[in-house]
């Protein structure tokens, strides 16, 4: 029995149009949501208010201590009930697999983005904050014009590296029967009995995307660094 790589050519459209679109869309949306939520969490963790510290700290520690697969499952069953409760209905809300995955990844990744941004914010010298305050900027303005732009720039490589990991992790949605790129490849592999060919091809595609992205991150790092 020889190898039959023609299976790739036959399933090409399905793999990319359905599978890869799902993976990429989920990654990008979860990254955006995760960074926004992560920034809020980081600001809460660094705020002088104890209650905010505890809430954000607890959230981050819980998320970082749970296996991602567990959270994906958990939210898949939990979110419909929370949705029902929020909309005051007796029935669990109908939440599609994609929406559920998006909520899960956003909330899970936010914990990691939070820690990256917290380090980024703490790397900005106190003198910069004082200088912002000295010209009359309030807390929100000091954060949004002085601290966060510098923190984001310092942390962009790490943020993007975390996003590459997120992209790889989206393949875990197979547990809730969503079809991402790997899921699509897996379905074809089983249907046509071409396991080695399809998994090899999938591995190659993930490698090319992630490796290219990390090379790009490295180049970006030198381009955007602040002139000192």
């Amino acid at each position: 029995m020889g190898y039959d790589f023609d299976v790739i050519e036959r399933s090409w459209v399905y793999l990319f149009r359905d599978g890869m679109t799902f993976s990429v869309t989920l990654t990008l949306l979860a990254m955006l949501g995760g960074i926004v939520l992560g920034t809020l969490l980081a600001l809460m963790r660094l705020s002088p208010y104890k209650t905010l510290n505890i809430i954000a700290g607890g959230y981050v520690n819980i998320m970082r201590s749970l296996p991602l697969v567990l959270v994906i499952f958990w939210f898949f069953f939990l979110v419909p009930y929370i949705g029902g409760w929020l909309t005051n209905s007796n029935q669990p809300m109908k939440v599609g697999a994609f929406a559920s995955a998006l909520i899960t990844f956003t909330m899970f990744e936010a914990a990691f983005y939070c820690e990256i941004l917290r380090a980024g914010i703490q790397s900005i010298p106190q003198g910069q904050v004082s200088a912002g305050q000295a010209i009359g900027l309030n807390y929100r303005q000091t954060m949004s014009f002085i601290v966060l732009p510098q923190a984001f720039r310092n942390m962009l490589p790490v943020l993007l590296t975390q996003t590459i990991i997120l992209f790889q992790d989206t393949s875990l949605v197979y547990v809730i029967s969503s079809t991402d790129f790997l899921g699509a490849a897996s379905k074809i592999a089983n249907r046509d009995h071409r396991l080695i060919e399809m998994y090899t091809f999938a591995a190659l595609v993930y490698f090319i995307i992630c490796f290219t992205a990390s090379m790009y991150v490295r180049r970006l790092q030198t381009r955007i660094s602040i002139i000192r």
Binding site: S130, A131, A134, I135, L137, N138, Q141, I146, I226
Partner: protein, 244 residues
């Protein structure tokens, strides 16, 4: 304009400021000197609320700094501050450094802010540096930009926290020249510095601090002309910095 009434501040058992009472009138230039750790930076940072204090009262232009209802950002916008390490915003160009506060705090239009910034840049001799980033300027140039940034807000008083101590010696004078010009224009200034030449040239009064206390507070002429009237701690300090 600035009035300290028995201001005290402590970190645990360490007294950063101990019962400090003094005042600065409009148009007055007051030099604050003293050994490191004597509380002189802390003293001037109390004036714009960058350092909170626990006891006493501090009034700027009639507004109490200690009161919880005081709008600190609004108050700070009236007080210019220059830092030892410049603290320009490294991710913004010189022009953006100069216009940020004007636009966001004073609500000026971009055109107004640019015009104001350019006019003041010309005055400190940095006309052609507007589009550069702080990291591309020398220390002396950066400090002049920092002074300009404060002046762009049309402050009614200026605070200087060791403005020349992070500079290479050959750049000290270009910064002092700007400060002397400002003093001669009648700006109210509190200046923490070891540059006694600056104090002799433009100061009205000199405050000497040690261990969080104001040890001397007298006119410049009295301070320098009659060392025999100074307290031993002051004389010791002056001998150390004036013998060279």
């Amino acid at each position: 304009m600035i009035e300290f009434k028995k201001v005290s501040k402590s970190y645990g058992n360490f007294k950063a400021l101990d019962n400090c009472t003094t005042q600065v009138s409009k148009g007055e230039v007051v030099v604050v000197c003293g050994p490191s750790g004597s509380g002189k930076s802390t003293l001037i940072k109390c004036v714009n609320g960058l350092e909170p204090f626990q006891k006493g009262e501090l009034l700027f232009n009639g507004v109490s700094l200690g009161a919880t209802k005081t709008n600190l950002p609004k108050l700070r916008a009236q007080i210019g501050m220059v830092f030892q390490h410049f603290e320009l915003f490294p991710h913004l160009s010189v022009m953006e450094n100069l216009t940020l506060g004007q636009i966001k705090v004073l609500g000026r239009s971009k055109e107004q802010a640019n015009e104001k910034a350019q006019k003041l840049l010309d005055r400190v001799g940095l006309t052609s540096q507007a589009e550069k980033f702080p990291g591309q300027l020398s220390g002396g140039q950066q400090q002049r930009v920092a002074i300009t940034r404060a002046l762009c807000m049309d402050p009614i008083a200026m605070l200087f926290d060791e403005p020349t101590s992070a500079l290479d010696p050959e750049m000290v004078n270009e910064v002092l020249d700007v400060m002397v010009a400002l003093a001669k224009d009648g700006m109210t200034m509190m200046v923490v510095t070891h540059e006694m030449s600056f104090a002799k040239k433009v100061a009205d009064r000199v405050i000497f601090m040690d261990e969080g206390r104001i040890v001397e507070d007298c006119s410049k002429d009295e301070f320098f002309a009659h060392p025999e009237n100074r307290k031993p701690r002051t004389r010791e300090f002056l001998e150390k910095i004036l013998t060279h």
